[in-house]
Symmetry: C2
Subunit: 397 residues, 2 copies
């Protein structure tokens, strides 16, 4: 049995955008923030470095007195103290005076540059300087790395390890991240009775985690409208993904339940695989549905669920990377359907050889283990010929 | 002060390979295995599918009796039962008999193909078949997805979400992963007394975690050889990374401690940044050392620590991805040094514009937040000119 009509992927995504979804937020310690998404633009509250400091070991001086210094005609400075990362020099430096300074030491008041140790010679309490020194030479100026007000993370940006460095250095201790949990439910008597292994549910959880989203496996329910309703109502997740029973036939209990009780955004897509993917809103909570097959779940999660959740929340998914290469054999597409073809990439060729993974059955787990990327074939394309140059999206792992 | 001599990056990596490092292993539940590295090649213990099954809703039959079937001249089969994912048909199917079958249902004994529901018509206990059916049509054959013996994960391969699906489907419940923990210690009085913020230590932990390695922050110790020794000996980590005091001068306590007590593999590299990076073996445990600056730590971790650990253990680091583009401004390199230049990539141009991030000081955290990739400039290169075509390695986040 078939759906009465199928939406294109782009129409489906457009219609989902009309649903106003406002995710909750929560505040976390920055030490636990890496991998999550910031829900606000984060500005630096301070300059970094907080003060100007030396980038080398040497002597802090006023540069203008060194203009004509050479090895045979050095300039002379009186050493009046020391500045190191551990201890500042407190006091002001006047013309003709120098402060011994170590890498990271605060630049003393009155100085504007540092001459490197190897361009000097110490003689009792004096230092000879053999080279001319420019203003700010060997100095890390206050705020030169991060200026107060700089945007450290965009709204929706994912927190990465380098952000942690910046937060620590400029004194940000807590940040707000999106706080929504995705609950994954599987339906199907064949799963409940254990005849079919439920690999899609843990797969989806790990896939979502890999992408920085919080998801829980919520177990399995019978193909029974009341059981499905009870399950959804007892869980307090913000978004659901429900697998199984997503076809258009009477035996597809999940479809029936949602058709009768929820608002349909779309259901049935002109894509392969994952054409039974749908989105409904039930009591204000989005419910994505997808066939129980892991490959369909992967394609739906990557190309439908994540982009829609990203639109709703503003989270920035990691940039997709592409590789161009030549197709090792032709691919036939059914006009009107967008196909997601799993491919391997052989980089021993130049340009790389793009090898479609042979797919016969419908589960075809091996096709996603063995694949390096996905080649999308447009609804209006009849496919590609052997030798065609194609652009392949790299999988995120 | 300078090192007596500097090694090239490639020499350093070659010398580290001579150290025989055998990481421990531990067995984990597959549900907790995603993101880690397998220490053995994992073969499938079984076929998947475990039995041949239908890929559609329809009727399972012997195909040879349908060769001349057409809409006006259908072939007739007697319906003798039903097979679904929930319940097999137990019995053997003879010529002229059909079993109603649902997607995922086990193919009954005696049948070799499935005709789709829409190409049939049911009439009482008979079904008319309007099309010729090929052998194995609409059937997922036993083992067609994963054959017994297939390699599911290579030795050292990282476990990704799709592997979890395969493990579940073929009945793998536990796997062996590498079991080594990296301990990160920071030295420096300026960090102990709180004048300098220790952002490099948590950065390294998150960076290693991001790459699937287990690492702990072990705190900070004074610039004191005995304190450093005590710290290392009280921790039972397998590999250490110690930051700070890595230069060649007398004030570099960590260098002194290791020079006197450990076996040097290399120390001092012809690279920029991170030229004070080193590797020593202390009582059989590798100790990587690196300056306390986060940018140096990133470059050392990415280009030195991870490749060496990968060599020792066999873990497969994620493939590096590259982008080619044109340089927006020239870069000058010091001959003899390999430079790692942080760049942004503007994909609004074709080819993309590669924009070196302006770097003045030495901390320059913003350069790693703002960067999309790293452009390596070879020891033998004087740099690149504006407009040159260059290949940039994309950062892993």
């Amino acid at each position: 049995m078939e759906f009465k009509s199928y939406s294109s992927l782009s129409d489906a995504i457009i219609s989902s955008k009309k649903f106003p979804y406002n995710p909750k937020k929560r505040t976390v310690d920055i030490m636990n923030s890496v991998g999550f998404y910031s829900c606000a633009e984060i500005h630096s509250p301070d300059d970094f470095p907080k003060y100007s400091k030396s980038a080398v070991d040497g002597f802090a001086i006023q540069s203008r007195n060194t203009i004509s210094s050479t090895r045979t005609n050095p300039s002379y400075f009186k050493i009046i103290g020391e500045s190191s990362p551990e201890k500042d020099f407190n006091g002001s430096v006047r013309e003709g005076e120098a402060v011994k300074i170590y890498t990271g030491g605060k630049l003393p008041e009155g100085t504007d540059s540092v001459v490197m140790m190897e361009d000097t010679e110490i003689f009792s309490d004096e230092v000879k300087i053999f080279v001319p020194v420019r203003k700010f030479q060997n100095v890390s100026l206050r705020g030169e790395d991060i200026e107060k007000g700089y945007v450290l993370v965009r709204k929706g940006g994912r927190i990465t390890p380098p952000h942690l460095v910046a937060f620590l250095e400029v004194g940000i201790k807590m940040i707000e991240i999106y706080d929504f949990r995705i609950g994954i439910i599987s339906t199907g008597n064949e799963i409940v009775n254990g005849r079919v292994i439920n690999s899609t549910q843990p797969f989806l959880r790990e896939y979502l985690k890999w992408n920085g989203l919080e998801a829980d496996c919520l177990g399995t329910v019978q193909d029974d409208e009341n059981e499905i309703r009870k399950k959804i109502e007892q869980e307090n997740h913000d978004i659901f993904i429900i697998t199984g029973g997503t076809g258009p036939s009477d035996r597809d209990v999940l479809t029936n339940f949602l058709e009768n009780n929820a608002t349909k955004i779309f259901h049935g897509l002109k894509i392969r695989p994952a054409r039974t993917t749908g989105l409904y809103i039930y009591n204000g909570r989005p419910i994505f549905i997808i066939s129980g097959l892991p490959v369909a779940a992967l394609i739906a999660a990557e190309n439908i669920f994540l982009p829609i959740i990203s639109h709703w929340t503003g989270i920035e998914l990691s940039k997709k990377n592409y590789v161009e290469g030549r197709l090792s054999r032709s691919i036939v597409n059914t006009l009107g359907f967008r196909s997601f073809v799993r491919v391997r990439i052989d980089r021993n060729y130049d340009p790389p050889m793009i090898i479609p993974v042979r797919v016969t059955g419908s589960g075809v787990i091996y096709s996603i283990i063995d694949a390096d990327g996905i080649l999308e074939v447009d609804e209006n394309s009849e496919g590609f010929q052997e030798g065609d140059t194609v652009k392949v999206e790299l999988l995120r792992w």
